[in-house]
């Protein structure tokens, strides 16, 4: 009983924090139908700003800066105000230009904003934890309830603050004219515009209040756990989003309810399940996935919030942009269109170039980097099947990659070598068996995971896949017997062919290139057939595709399966080329990175993923020569995020968009038609 009581008390504190952050997601979603992934980072900024304002001095950008040393309430108010202003600014720059864009665009932008903010925070405050200064109330002795439940005074303050903020917000929405306007826009944006509610002001208010709530949640969280860190917003952000979805996104009481449920479930789960603390992150996501499956609109939500947005990023070019920018793109487009028209000849020329590069590059260092380019290009190609061709945002793709890497590593190292003492060189052929096997296994996983998502669209789909990806990662960390847990698996043998070790960087590069040819070839054959046409039709207009006889649910699953196959297939080679894997290799950040590479290069093209990977990975290395980047390596990620935001606004189709992929089988056209065309 005491134990239960203590768990419930802890759950309430955590739940109060989740609820506050959930309000941020829900408020903005209600008004602009945007899942703003960046709230996790605003949460983190709230914590950093508060801590900084409370300290006498902090180290910013490596230099000690004197600080006012406010008390917690004053510092918190300052931090909330600053974060709210930042939230409005982000909306103004990154989201407002995309108000009428397809829903994928702002979603991707918000992910990019997230990356930018997190990298910048790490640049400014450094990679280490910042200790959260102790507030004098925290030094008071804890309150004891029923003789056995300990609650610190700060825990009570957290709960009281959350309650007051929630009630204040409810009153604001019910009473003030701005609040009523907010509710009206949430009910029906079109109607709100018609009756003359200044929508932009309402949206700005929603962002301001939402960001303020996120900051408040973040500073309370940091206060409770005693530190601030640049990546601290990530998991609580996801949890808060889960809470918002749980309660029914768009509903404020729902957010409060969802937050509390999540906090309690997590506290109870970690208290009662065997090894519960390790699994507590998985608990929330299992809850999320189960709920989205059974009741996608959440507990208090309205079903129509899950409507599909029609049109894709590739439908039309943006009208924005300076003349020189558009002129530059027009030049690129001209060249690409010509190259794409050349078809197989251009592809062969590209391949020949890659082979030549592989032959002449002298340095092992650069060969390793080019191998990485090819690997990431292949992975991005797999992701591109689902995102670029079928138009479904997938934030759980890394899971397939992980399945492939782990399958081959477990078989080679943990089973055959450690258990049976078989030397990897004796069973070199297993690698070639594992490639398709892992592909099939991952495809099976993809179908398994894809099935419940079929009824979901747009944003919910993205959240669901994200939940899956996290579950797989948590499993990889915690299922020690299977995966070796966080230690990872060492000593994975380099690829080997008929006893000839292919461990040298040059051999690996060519191995990767050969796989890439297979991957692109297979994807291209599928895309240039009725299957690819069905995918693109789904991307462009799901309902119309269905009316043309396309069983859209089945073809979405096929897209998942194809993308999963590629992920698993490449994952096998990845493990053998790295020779060491750990759960860290398969984080959501990797997924986001792959997504950014596809978008950078061009969604729905064959070369796009490789162009994106080439630009990014080569830049990542070259930039290391700059002293500034040496001091602040994270700024490179911030730059990638900024580039992506700019692309989303000015050229959502990506750099190589005009390398348009033909969707008919090469050579299947009647001869006279070719002449006419």
């Amino acid at each position: 009983m005491d134990y239960l009581g203590q768990l419930l008390a802890n759950g309430l504190v955590l739940g109060a924090i989740y609820a506050l952050a959930a309000v941020a997601f829900t408020l903005v979603y209600g008004v602009v139908r945007l899942v703003n992934f960046a709230f996790g980072e605003l949460f983190m900024l709230g914590a950093f700003l508060t801590a900084s304002l409370m300290l006498p001095e902090v180290r910013l950008l490596g230099t000690i800066v004197p600080m006012p040393g406010f008390s917690l309430p004053v510092a918190a108010a300052g931090a909330i105000a600053l974060t709210a202003a930042l939230g409005v600014l982000v909306d103004r720059i990154a989201y407002r230009p995309l108000r009428n864009a397809p829903r994928l665009a702002p979603l991707i932008t918000s992910i990019a904003v997230s990356v930018v903010l997190q990298s910048l925070a790490q640049t400014v405050w450094g990679a280490e934890e910042l200790r959260f200064p102790e507030f004098h109330l925290a030094t008071l002795p804890p309150v004891v309830l029923f003789d056995s439940i300990y609650l610190s005074v700060m825990d009570l303050v957290v709960m009281a603050t959350a309650l007051a903020a929630m009630l204040g917000l409810s009153a604001f929405i019910a009473r003030s004219s701005l609040g009523r306007a907010m509710r009206a826009s949430a009910e029906d944006q079109m109607a709100a515009t018609l009756v003359g509610i200044p929508v932009n002001r309402v949206v700005a208010a929603a962002f301001a209040i939402g960001s303020g709530f996120a900051a408040l949640a973040g500073l309370l969280y940091a206060q409770t756990y005693g530190f601030a860190h640049s990546s601290m917003g990530f998991l609580p952000g996801l949890k808060a989003l889960t809470a918002a979805v749980l309660g029914g996104i768009g509903s404020i009481p729902g957010a409060a309810l969802g937050g509390l449920i999540l906090g309690l479930v997590e506290a109870l789960g970690s208290g009662y399940l065997p090894n519960g603390t390790a699994w507590k992150d998985a608990i929330s996501f299992v809850l999320l996935v189960g709920l989205l499956y059974l009741r996608p609109q959440g507990l208090l939500g309205k079903p129509e919030l899950n409507a599909a947005g029609r049109g894709s990023l590739l439908g039309g070019a943006s009208e924005f942009g300076a003349a020189w920018l558009r002129a530059a793109f027009a030049k690129v487009d001209g060249g690409l269109t010509r190259a794409a028209a050349a078809g197989p000849r251009a592809a062969l020329a590209l391949l020949a170039l890659a082979i030549l590069v592989g032959l002449v590059v002298p340095s092992d260092y650069w060969l390793r980097i080019l191998t990485m380019v090819v690997i990431y290009g292949m992975l991005a190609s797999g992701l591109n099947v689902i995102v670029g061709f079928a138009g479904l945002l997938d934030l759980g793709f890394v899971a397939f990659w992980a399945v492939g890497s782990y399958l081959t590593s477990i078989l080679f190292v943990l089973v055959l070598k450690d258990q049976f003492g078989v030397a990897p060189a004796d069973i070199w052929w297993l690698l070639y068996l594992n490639l398709p096997l892992a592909g099939l296994l991952a495809a099976g996983f993809a179908v398994l995971l894809g099935t419940p998502t079929l009824r979901l669209r747009g944003d919910y789909l993205a959240i669901m896949t994200l939940g899956f990806g996290e579950i797989v990662r948590v499993v990889a960390i915690n299922w020690m017997d299977l995966t070796n847990g966080p230690m990872g698996i060492r000593g994975i043998p380099a690829p080997n062919l008929f006893g000839i070790a292919l461990g040298s960087p040059r051999a690996q590069f060519f191995f990767a290139l050969a796989l890439a040819v297979l991957v692109v070839f297979a994807i291209a054959r599928l895309v240039r057939s009725y299957v690819g046409r069905a995918w693109v039709a789904i991307r462009e207009d799901e309902e119309a595709a269905e009316a043309m006889g396309v069983p859209t649910a089945r073809y979405k699953l096929y897209a998942y399966a194809a993308s999963g196959f590629v992920g698993g297939f490449v994952g096998v080679f990845y493990a053998h080329s790295q020779q060491y894997i750990s759960p860290l290799n398969f984080s959501l950040f990797e997924n986001i990175l792959l997504l950014m590479l596809v978008v950078l290069g061009g969604l729905g093209t064959f070369v796009g993923p490789f162009i994106g990977a080439l630009i990014w990975i080569v830049f990542l290395q070259l930039a290391l020569d700059l002293p500034f980047v040496q001091a602040y390596p994270e700024t490179r990620f911030a730059l990638l995020g900024v580039v992506l935001i700019v692309l989303m606004v000015f050229r959502p189709q990506g750099l190589a968009a005009s390398a348009r992929v033909a969707l008919t089988m090469p050579g299947a056209r009647p001869a006279n038609a070719k002449e006419a065309a």
Partner: protein, 264 residues
């Protein structure tokens, strides 16, 4: 209900019985009975907002009616998904053209042929002869249909959404026809067209019927309707106002009253 004249065949191609559609409190269609004969050009007319598009959405599975049942080609089809309706032989166009962005005309038309492909993933990846033959056959058919709807082969490789409005409508019709449907449902195919184009599309509709495909079309232009259709169903406020051969229906005072001062 008036007896169906000019339809001696006892089993119509499509039969809708007591269809009611409610959107919240609004009854968009109320207790509609309707039958489309196997060789008909069947007009569905009525003032704006009468519920014509809603009926067409019901007949193609887009909207599941609140009440009522649908029998197509002798089988109950009410429970199917949208693609199931298409597979049974119901093909449609949309009042607001819905072509797939970023696809060429040829590719868009080929999407309509989706159900006529059957190659599995392996034969696609290895481009087996059967898969290539099926693709070539459908591409050839697509070119035929483009010509049939009055588009030259030169538009085949243009991005469909960049064509003129009239041409986009023709692409939509070709996309619907390539599935070899039994019934083609057209939602205002003549809207926004000039007189020449209108008569071209009317001829096209007649040719479609001549190929043994029944046509259900929604249209506001009474001149065209009178000449083109051999059976009319008139809707007003979601209810059936009249049903029968055009000359009878259009002479009906109730129908004239419904249109008086409302339509052209």
């Amino acid at each position: 209900m008036k007896p169906l004249t000019g339809a001696p065949s006892p089993a119509p191609l499509l039969e809708a019985r007591a269809i009611t559609v409610r959107f919240g409190g609004l009854e968009a269609v109320g207790g509609l009975d309707m039958a489309v004969a196997r060789d008909a050009i069947h007009g569905l007319i009525g003032p704006n907002g009468a519920g014509k598009t809603t009926v067409l959405n019901v007949l193609t599975g887009f909207i599941r009616p609140t009440e009522g049942e649908l029998v197509f080609d002798g089988a109950e089809i009410g429970g199917l998904g949208v693609n199931g309706f298409a597979r049974r032989g119901l093909a449609r166009t949309f009042q607001n053209i819905r072509l797939f962005g970023a696809m060429t005309v040829l590719e868009s038309v080929l999407v309509g042929a989706h159900q006529r492909f059957s190659a599995n993933a392996l034969s696609l990846v290895f481009a087996r002869r059967s898969a290539r033959a099926a693709e070539a056959a459908m591409i050839a058919r697509a070119y035929e249909l483009l010509e049939f709807v009055g588009l030259g082969a030169d538009v085949a490789d243009r991005v469909a959404t960049t064509l003129s409005y009239g041409h986009q409508r023709r692409v939509e019709i070709a996309r619907a026809l390539i599935s070899a449907p039994k019934l083609l449902l057209l939602d205002e195919p003549l809207a926004g067209m000039n007189a020449v184009e209108k008569s071209e599309i009317a001829d096209l509709v007649r040719q479609v019927r001549a190929q043994g495909i029944a046509v259900l079309l929604i249209e506001h232009d009474m001149q065209v309707v009178r000449r083109l259709c051999d059976h009319l169903t008139v809707l007003e406020y979601g209810r059936k106002l009249a049903d029968g051969p055009p000359e009878d229906v259009l002479a009906d005072p109730a129908v004239q009253a419904a249109y008086l001062g409302r339509a052209r």
